[in-house]
Symmetry: C2
Subunit: 355 residues, 2 copies
């Protein structure tokens, strides 16, 4: 591998591939000319796009494959029959040490299954999770899982808590991040079995985690905790509900600001400020969810994003690579799980001595 950061790109994943993928690569290449890209996919289509985008063309190497993982394909099927797909070959490049990280806007389930198979999970992690930043009134929080694990038990949620804690410390730079479990109420007796079990483990564990307790949906935006832990079903619905509501708010605001001449003049005067606001709540700004718990950097872009959104997903991968995030998470997870193992072993020894 060269000294330059190399990003492996699934150029065929997502609703508007390869067009917006190559556009995103071009935008990021212009921003950071030291980056290199490996683009996996249909070389005729990709080269046609690169011909119009010199920055992307200079930074990229195209690796041809005609195979694509369909958006509705089952993860197991994709894993078996997608060995030569753009997604799989892009992941392989990370596994082979050719690239430092991979970005795809394709089928989430297939990407997770393939990434898990090729890159393997970190020691102590059963199930990798999908994590992303959420803006809050205080600053930002990290939330996981966002859809990798639809059904979770308490132990799964505890592993997410560990990974989220490490993420908040290594990527967000929080000294002693607080961790909350997303629930339907803050009282101990609330919620389903999984969150109650997880709370019990987190309350009694020796893991040096600052467990806040249960948080509710509105605590995400408030910034009550640095890490919000939830199962993949709830996390995914919650994240996407926010996206829909953001669009609704924008719609109402535009409606209001074009309703009268006075409002129109006011909006024209406030335009630079309103553009800053628009940028701050733009979902594309938050595009790029990381798969945490894998032995390699893998970032998932929203399937229906545009070039700007895909560029953001690439930027997330670059920042994780630059901050040696995976080394950090590996060390921290190893420490935390060793601590937990030692505790369990000493508990077993204590029982053995007593009998």
């Amino acid at each position: 591998m060269t000294d330059r950061i190399v990003i492996s790109i699934d150029a065929m994943g997502g609703d508007n591939a390869p067009d917006i993928i190559v556009e995103g690569v071009d935008a990021q290449a212009r921003l950071d000319p030291t980056l290199r890209f490996l683009l996996f996919g249909d070389e005729v289509r990709i080269n046609a796009l690169l011909a119009r985008l010199p920055a992307a063309k200079d930074a990229s190497e195209v690796r041809h494959t005609p195979d694509v993982v369909g958006s509705g394909e089952k993860p197991g099927v994709a894993l078996r029959s997608g060995r030569n797909s753009s997604m799989r070959l892009a992941i392989n490049a990370v596994g082979d040490g050719e690239a430092h990280g991979i970005v795809s806007a394709g089928n989430t389930g297939a990407l997770m299954a393939m990434a898990k198979f090729v890159l393997k999970t970190l020691p102590g992690i059963d199930r990798p999770a999908i994590a992303t930043y959420f803006p809050t009134i205080r600053n930002t929080c990290v939330m996981l899982d966002l859809g990798a694990n639809v059904d979770c038990n308490g132990a799964n949620l505890v592993q997410f808590a560990v990974m989220g804690e490490v993420y908040a410390r290594n990527v967000l730079g929080r000294e002693n991040p607080s961790v909350g479990l997303l629930n339907v109420g803050s009282e101990d007796l609330k919620g389903n079995q999984a969150v109650r079990d997880a709370a019990q483990i987190l309350q009694s564990t020796d893991l040096p985690i600052k467990f806040y307790g249960f948080v509710e949906g509105d605590d995400i935006g408030k910034g009550t905790v640095d890490v919000v832990v939830t199962d993949g079903f709830t996390g995914n619905v919650s994240l996407k509900t926010t996206e829909g509501m953001a669009r609704l708010f924008g719609f109402y605001l535009r409606e209001a600001l074009t309703s009268t001449w006075r409002a129109k003049i006011g909006a024209w005067l406030a335009k630079p400020a309103l553009m800053k606001f628009k940028d701050k709540v733009d979902p594309r700004r938050y595009n790029g969810a990381m798969f945490v718990g894998l032995n390699g950097i893998c970032v998932k872009s929203h399937g229906s994003t545009d070039g700007l959104g895909f560029q953001n997903a690439i930027a997330v991968a670059v920042s994780l690579i630059r901050n040696n995030f995976n080394e950090g998470i590996k060390e921290d997870c190893a420490k935390l799980f060793a601590l937990e193992r030692a505790r369990q072993e000493s508990a077993v020894e204590a029982v053995a001595t007593a009998t």
Copy 2:
């Protein structure tokens, strides 16, 4: 019962009771002087508040009780030991035919348990659900369950679909409302067991329900369907996430519009329009969730709302009563379940004839 609509009020439920409760009653009494209220709770505190609010005083009758259901009390405990609580007596007034509906900002679980015990569920309904309107880009949708049932199976979700359909027809006035199941993706293979089972039932049933299929979180704001069906855990988190995000958006917008002098002048000019926008996204405007599936009108207010929010919850109850909502839902549910029973019986008969 008189011809005037009588609303029974749990004056002691919620974070700021009885103050904001009586304020909400006063605001609604001024808006609609034909209403009558039965206020259950601490008569000394309530009368002190009424002394300053003549409209509420004229419209209300105070029924003293010192007992209050705590916000952290388990539903079962509240049911057994809260027989003289303000919440229970307020519900009893509906059960006894003294009032047309009850509104409370207290403990949701206790309210549901008591309402179910006193008012009973409608024929064919195992579990009542909590429903509310959601604003969408198209108009409004109804979403349920929002927290009554943390764990749900496919059959539960189908009952919610039936109730939501009836709600959309009777209250929102939709001719042939479409029903969507909230999921992490729109493909058939996505999601947990409960949503997949529910989808299968809704696809194959004879119930005259326009089943759209799976919807994702962002479809709520888009207005893709008239009825969004989900389990109480996901629905509650999703609803509250939206509340938190609405506050975050307001915060960002204020920040932007006060960032420069030009923005401030623009905001001043656009103020009437911005106030209209603010009103449209005000969570208090959407306060007042209905318990559907019960043999009586029961509306739950957010526990931390203010007088304006509580007034809205009362208005929801009044509108349900005026539109004979419960009669409508009773008839429609009976029809739908009779149809389903007939289908099952004819299937059994067919089997019996064949053997």
